[in-house]
Each structure stands twice: as structure tokens, then as C-alpha cells.
């Protein structure tokens, strides 16, 4: 890569001084080594230190720098800058209250995650060694445990936009199935009871935006389908 200038249109809002949000046109010159959107944002910050966004690991495992990039949710650190049409339009994740600029209030998102009891429940006295699990049983957790809680999926889901307080959302449901699918977990019935509700699970209409945006390539829709299957099997 060479030096190049990139044009941005970025959502700005600082409640401390701005009456309302606005879109800022701004450009930045990139060094040849800058490859990812996050690299460009870090350069932008050197130019304007008020540009606010979360970031940490810069390799797609911490889930901090999720944002809406040219209309689609993604992680800044995993998005190739040169793959984006300019001006690159950046907005905060949709559907959550904005704290400032690209930083959203994720309280509702985590509340839903916490609501599914995201921890293993096993009431047997712990054995001295590990609980055994065959490689095939363990395989069932692949595609589930890798979630980084970035919220790209839930905030791209129309059902979550409409009912963020009632619909668990794709991230929370993926986590719910991660525990339902774990042979070591004993809370299956309570977990299903917890989701048997017109909103919590069944507001998923398989729109599949979640699958489309997941930066880890996970498939919450499939997990939700499996939970629904478990509900049906339990009923008959």
C-alpha cells in the first residue's frame, strides 16, 4: 500500500457541548502500513483528539470497536480500509442510546445477555478431576462459545430494535444455546422455561441480519432454530 487520503463522514455528538448530533466530513492521510479501519481512526484521533470510540485488542477478539460502517455493523479492526466506498460513513451501532460519538450505551444488550443465566449450572458435587466430555460433545460448542459480545448482531436485528427490553436478541440467544448444548449443564428445563415467552425467543423471524454481520462468522439464527427445536421436542 501507499500513502493515500481517505474521506470520512462521521456521526458526532458530545452531549457536553452539542445540542444535537451531526455528521462531520473529515479526511485523513494514511501511512502505507495502515490497513484496517481502526488504523485510520487512530490517525484521525491524532488529528482531532475529541473523536471518541472504544477500542482495545485491535485483532477482533475483545469486541470493543463495533460500529456501523457504510450502513453495516462490523469491527473497525477487522475491516479493510481499502475495501470501503468513500466517503466512509461511520455511525454508532443502531438501536442503542448514544453516549458520545461512536460510543453507545450497551446496558440493554448486556442485560439481555445476563438474563439467560450465562453460566454453567451443574449441581452435582464437583469431581476431583475434569468432567468428561467426548470430542464430539465438545464439538457441539463450536460456533457458540467464540462470541465476543460486540453486539454487531443484536443491533442489526429489527426485532431487537423494536423490543430491546423483551427480545433477548441474537447474541443472548446464541449464549443460551451454548449452555443448552453443553453436556455438562443440568439446567435445560429452566433455560427453556426462561425463553418460553412470546417475546424472549419467538420474536426472532429469521431475518438473518445477525448472520450477515457477525465478525466471527457465527450463526445465531441456527442456534435460535435449535432452541426452538428443543422447545418442540420438550412439548411432545
Amino acid at each position: 500500500m501507499t500513502k493515500r487520503t481517505v474521506q470520512f463522514k462521521i456521526y458526532r455528538y458530545d452531549p457536553d457541548k452539542d445540542e444535537k448530533p451531526y455528521m462531520q466530513d473529515i479526511s485523513v492521510e494514511l501511512e502505507p502500513s495502515d490497513k484496517k479501519l481502526l488504523d485510520a481512526l487512530v490517525r484521525l484521533r491524532a488529528k482531532d483528539d475529541s473523536m471518541s470510540f472504544r477500542r482495545s485488542c485491535r485483532e477482533g477478539v475483545c469486541g470493543s470497536d463495533a460500529m456501523n460502517i457504510n450502513g453495516k455493523n462490523g469491527l473497525a479492526c477487522l475491516t479493510d480500509i481499502d475495501s470501503l466506498a468513500q466517503p466512509i460513513t461511520l455511525r454508532p451501532l443502531p438501536g442503542l442510546p448514544v453516549i458520545r460519538d461512536l460510543i453507545v450505551d450497551m446496558t440493554q444488550f448486556f442485560k439481555q445477555y445476563h438474563s439467560i443465566k450465562p453460566y454453567l449450572v451443574n449441581n452435582d458435587p464437583p469431581p476431583e478431576r475434569e468432567r468428561l466430555q467426548s470430542p464430539e460433545e465438545r464439538e457441539e460448542l463450536n460456533g457458540l462459545y467464540e462470541c465476543i459480545l460486540c453486539a454487531c448482531c443484536s443491533t442489526s436485528c429489527p426485532s431487537f430494535w423494536w423490543n430491546p427490553d423483551k427480545f433477548v436478541g441474537p447474541a443472548g440467544l446464541l449464549a443460551a444455546y451454548r449452555f443448552l448444548a453443553d453436556t455438562r449443564d443440568q439446567d435445560t428445563n429452566a433455560r427453556l422455561d426462561n425463553l418460553e415467552d412470546p417475546y424472549r425467543l419467538f420474536r426472532c423471524h429469521s431475518i438473518m441480519n445477525c448472520v450477515d454481520v457477525c465478525p466471527k462468522g457465527l450463526n445465531p439464527t441456527r442456534a435460535i432454530g435449535k432452541i426452538k427445536d428443543m422447545m418442540v421436542r420438550r412439548a411432545i
Binding site: 485488542c57 477478539v61 462459545y145
Partner: protein, 597 residues
């Protein structure tokens, strides 16, 4: 400024592996505990650990804690304290099994046990052959661990203060620790967290270097806070350069790749590690492999148009193995190196990765400082665990997978010690000094009023470049001396940083300026300690301390078998003895020997 006060039995700063593990002990014991964290807990840097956590479970090859202890002492180049190392290696199975019970999705062997893979420097029968000791969840072990620990804390109802940045340690005239000041990011408000016990689990400061595997948040906050409060920092000259950071990007490629059979090659395709470490080859310890790579590059055998990296080759492994055991690495290589490792080797260079030194502690997690002739006198009310602490189990060089073990064992141990001290009535809420928040408020007020100052970005860049050039994989006397002067100059500039953003709300500029204060303490400690240590040991290798009969590998045990202690005030150095005596009679001291792999 009005400062709110909150009162707790215990305050934990940091919610990575060590902080979360400590929090579990306290929450489950019913102590009123606050966990302060700059980022949502699952965003802490433990999440980026890949290859595994060490424990001599012996699920696939014979193993025991004696061998693990020997490897760790040898890996530390005998700078590690043998009481703490014995404690850690003995506790390994227990803490890993606990984690499995918490729900951690370890990979499995055919008979359903935790999957284990070989790792650098880990051996069976005292160095004879590689051993399978690294307990792994694919190449996402840290992610799986951090989430399992967070989830267990949700179950235990741990109280988190998320996106609160701790600013300064509060001590009274006797030196007792009474808590911290902290700033809520969303409002910019400063509060005092007044507590009977304070545990630091704030991670490392790998961001002092230009090229680092570390996250943006790894700014040594706890280490900087401790240094400013008069606590010495131990062994800060010892930094681990991980052999395999993606060239140009710095992103980590786990040693587990070599554990699964990966090979390092130079420009002519030669497996050069056979020359440097005939026995363990590519699985020699990290300091040895990194130096071998830099030597290859320096002698003109590097790869690429600029001959500035070597290649990590797994093209001989089956695609199934790569997809199953190293799926995250494949994603990283495609994302950051532009190569699919199934088809082509990954360009890699040694990259700053881990801080072996830190806040001095004992194996119980108590922070210890020299006092009245005792080199290890506990500081009342103060505990530390994980990368910010120096127990010291890693000494001059850490073995891969011992960091995740460190944070489990010592996070738990620090938590247990607090609970014991609490039950024994040794901890009380001591009165806050009237000026408890003054230092923090002054730092913020200065930033708000500074004009004509320095840019945080520029000063930070100068610091990172200076560290990279003057305190790298190989060290040279003239460069170190010059580095001490340069870092002192950078530290002066850091006192005059200016931010344009004055908002109260989620002010990243203010956070970065405050983080730079912490990084600068670490950078000063590193450079000054490194300049002073006139020998080669572990990760600290000087060209003027070569391999001789008297000083094997340049290690001078007669004069330098001792821990460095650096005090921020006056850049003062002190030293304390290494504990060569194990904790119990179960094991003989591991006798000094020349390190070869």
C-alpha cells in the same frame, strides 16, 4: 471539586483473568467487593491469550509438577523465586480443573479429558523431551477462560464498576493502602473507593514498545499507580519478546502453532532452530527463539524484500488439524498477514509481549517492599496478581502458558489471603487522609488548564520508539545509557501534555493522557533497570556480557543473582535476594546450571 466516597471491604482494580479469579474468592466469601475496570470485563487482554494454560495433568503424556517446576525455574534463568514457583506448579491442576467445572470449553482427548499440547520450554523428565502440558481451547484459550470466569462472576453476583479508570493509589502516613481514586468514563467524575483491602490486577504495559502484541488498554495502570505511590517495581528490565508476532502488524501468533508442529524457516528455507536449540528446536523457550530469529535476520538470512522477518511454516500440517486446532490463527494470518497458512507460511518477527517484572508480591499475593531490614515486608491492605505483579514466578523469562496459570493461581491466592486477613480481623477501614484525592484532581486539573503543551500522541510515539530502539531483544551499553537520558526527556515532556478535548463525557483524550503517565513510569523503570544490570540473563541480553566459562550465556550469578527494585522518586535502584529455597520439603532447590535447550 466535590469527590464522592464509596466504601467497600475490598476493591479489585482490573477484570481480566487475575481480577476475575480474585473477585470470585471475595464474592463467594460474602465480602462487599467492588471490581473497577476500564473496559467491560470480557474485553480485558486475557481474552487475547491463545495457546493454553499449563498444568501437569498428564492427560496425554506422563507429567508431574516437579518437571513443571524445573522447567519454570530454568526458563526464568534462575531469577524466579522457587517458593512461588513451587506453589504455582503444585496448584496448577487444581485451578485448571476448577475452571473446567466453571464451564470452560476445553478441547478434549478421545477419552474425554482436557486436551493438552506441547509448548516452548516445557519438558518431561527435566529437559529430556517435549511434554504435552498446555491445556487448550483450540487457539482461543484466553477468550474461553475470560468468558468462563466472567460468567462465574455473574453467577456469584460480583459488583462491577465498568468503564471506571482507576487513577491513583491512596496511602496514609504509615504507608497503608486505603483504596484508590477512580474516574467514571461516562461522566468524567472522580470518586474515592475507600476499602479495607485493595487488589491490583491491572495487567501489563506492553504498550511502552512500538511493536507490541498488546492491546491499546495495556498501559500499566496499576504499575504506574504503585510507582507514583512509592512502591518499588521489581525486575522491570525483563520484557518478553514473543517470537511470532505478525510482521508489520504485531498481532500475536501463538506458540501453540509450533506446539502443533509449526517450523520456523529462514530465507533459504532452513529450519534454523536446529542449530540454536538441538534438543527442543522450535520449542525452545521464547527468549532463545527470539534471539535466534534476530540473529538470522541480522546475519542476512531474513525473508522478504527487506530480509526483515522469518517464516512460520505449517503448510505440512493437514488442513483438518489447522481448522480444528488453530482456527483463530488462520483467521489472523488471513486478516493481518494476507496469507492462508494452509497454503503459505506466515511472516513473523519477535514482538514485545509480556512484562515479567512488576509490583513485588509474595506467593500469597501480598505486595511486599523492603522495610526495617526485611526485603519482603507486606504493605498493609495491598495485594496484586497477574501480569502487573512480580511474585516472582517468571524471573528473567516466562514460559508460554505460565501467564494464564499465574493469573489463576495468584488471583485465587490473593483473594484467599484477603479473605483470611479479613476473617482474622487484620483488615479495618482506616481513616482517609484529608488529601486522599488531591493528586488525582491535580492531574486532571492540569490537563484541563494546560496550554501550549505537548501532544499525547507525539510523546507516546517518542516513548515507544525510544524503548524499541534502546531496550530491544539485544541490548547494548551505549544504547542503554543514551536510552536513560532520552526516556528522562520524554518523561519531562509527558508532564506538559495537552488535550484539546475538554468534555466531561467519555473523554478518550483525557484517558490516554492519564494512561501515558502510567506508561512513562514503566518505561523509566525498564530503561534504568536494564542499563544497570551488567549481565545477560533470560530476556535481558547484553552484547558486553558474552558466554564464558565463568559466566555461562553471559549470566553473572556472583554479582547479579538478585532482583532489581526501582523507585520512581529519584530513579533510585535497590536490590533484593532471589529466593532459591522452595516452599516445602517436597522438593530440593533447583541448582544453578547453564541454560541449554
Amino acid at each position: 471539586m466535590n469527590v464522592a466516597k464509596r466504601t467497600f471491604d475490598a476493591v479489585i482494580v482490573g477484570a481480566g483473568g487475575a481480577g476475575l479469579r480474585a473477585a470470585l474468592q471475595l464474592s463467594e466469601a460474602g465480602l462487599k467487593t467492588a471490581v473497577l475496570t476500564k473496559v467491560f470485563p470480557t474485553r480485558s487482554h486475557t481474552v487475547a491469550a491463545q495457546g493454553g494454560v499449563a498444568a501437569s495433568l498428564g492427560n496425554s503424556t506422563e507429567d508431574n509438577w516437579h518437571w513443571h517446576m524445573y522447567d519454570t525455574v530454568k526458563g526464568s534463568d534462575w531469577l524466579g523465586d522457587q517458593d512461588a514457583i513451587e506453589f504455582m506448579c503444585k496448584k496448577a491442576n487444581e485451578v485448571v480443573i476448577e475452571l473446567e467445572h466453571y464451564g470452560m470449553p476445553f478441547d478434549r482427548t478421545d477419552n474425554g479429558k482436557i486436551y493438552q499440547r506441547p509448548f516452548g520450554g516445557h519438558s518431561m523428565n527435566y529437559g529430556q523431551a517435549p511434554v504435552m502440558r498446555s491445556c487448550a481451547a483450540a487457539d482461543r484459550t484466553g477468550h474461553a477462560m475470560l468468558h468462563a470466569l466472567y460468567q462465574r462472576n455473574v453467577r456469584a453476583n460480583t459488583q462491577f464498576f465498568v468503564e471506571w479508570m482507576a487513577l491513583d493509589l491512596i496511602r496514609n502516613a504509615d504507608g497503608d493502602v486505603l483504596g484508590v481514586t477512580a474516574m467514571e468514563m461516562e461522566t468524567g467524575e472522580v470518586s474515592i473507593f475507600h476499602s479495607k483491602a485493595t487488589i491490583f490486577a491491572t495487567g501489563g504495559a506492553g504498550r511502552i514498545y512500538y511493536s507490541s502484541t498488546n492491546a491499546f488498554i495495556n498501559t500499566g495502570d496499576g504499575v504506574g499507580m504503585a510507582a507514583r505511590a512509592g512502591i518499588p517495581l521489581e525486575d522491570m528490565e525483563f520484557w518478553q519478546f514473543h517470537p511470532t508476532g505478525v510482521a508489520g502488524a504485531g498481532v500475536l501468533i501463538t506458540e501453540g502453532v509450533r506446539g502443533e508442529g509449526g517450523i520456523l524457516r529462514n530465507a533459504s528455507g532452513e529450519r534454523f532452530m536446529e542449530r540454536y536449540a538441538p534438543n527442543l528446536k522450535d520449542l525452545a523457550s521464547r527468549d532463545v527463539v527470539s534471539r535466534s530469529m534476530v540473529t538470522e535476520i541480522n546475519e542476512g538470512r531474513g525473508c522478504g524484500p527487506d530480509k526483515d522477518h522469518v517464516l512460520l511454516d505449517i503448510t505440512h500440517l493437514s488442513p483438518e488439524t489447522i481448522m480444528k486446532r488453530l482456527p483463530g490463527i488462520r483467521e489472523i494470518a488471513i486478516q493481518f498477514a494476507g496469507v492462508d497458512p494452509i497454503k503459505a507460511p506466515i511472516p513473523v518477527v519477535p514482538t514485545c509481549h509480556y512484562q515479567m517484572g512488576g509490583i513485588p508480591t509474595n506467593y500469597k499475593g501480598q505486595v511486599v517492599v523492603p522495610k526495617d531490614g526485611n526485603p519482603n515486608a507486606p504493605v498493609h491492605g495491598f495485594y496484586a496478581a497477574g501480569e502487573c505483579a512480580c511474585a516472582s514466578v517468571h524471573g528473567a523469562n516466562r514460559l508460554g502458558t505460565n501467564s494464564l496459570l499465574d493469573l489463576l493461581v495468584f488471583g485465587k491466592s490473593a483473594g484467599e489471603t484477603v479473605v483470611e486477613d479479613f476473617k482474622a480481623g487484620n483488615l479495618s477501614l482506616k481513616p482517609l487522609p484529608a488529601d486522599a484525592a488531591d493528586a488525582s484532581l491535580a492531574r486532571i486539573a492540569r490537563l484541563d488548564s494546560q496550554t501550549g503543551g505537548e501532544s499525547v500522541f507525539d510523546v507516546g510515539l517518542e516513548m515507544r520508539r525510544t524503548m524499541q530502539k534502546h531496550a530491544g531483544v539485544f541490548r547494548f551499553d551505549a544504547l542503554l545509557r543514551e536510552g536513560v537520558t532520552k526516556i528522562a526527556a520524554v518523561a519531562e515532556r509527558a508532564k506538559r501534555t495537552e488535550i484539546k478535548d475538554k468534555s466531561k463525557v467519555w473523554n478518550v483524550a483525557r484517558m490516554e493522557a492519564l494512561e501515558l503517565d502510567n506508561l512513562i513510569e514503566v518505561a523509566r523503570a525498564t530503561m534504568v533497570s536494564a542499563e544497570a544490570r551488567k549481565e545477560s540473563r533470560g530476556a535481558h541480553v547484553r552484547d558486553d556480557a558474552p558466554d564464558t566459562a565463568e559466566n555461562p550465556n553471559g549470566r553473572d550469578d556472583k554479582n547479579w543473582l538478585k532482583h532489581t527494585l526501582w523507585y520512581s522518586e529519584g530513579n533510585r535502584l535497590d536490590y533484593k535476594p532471589v529466593n532459591l529455597k522452595p516452599l516445602s520439603d517436597d522438593v530440593e532447590p533447583i541448582a544453578l546450571a547453564k541454560r541449554t535447550y
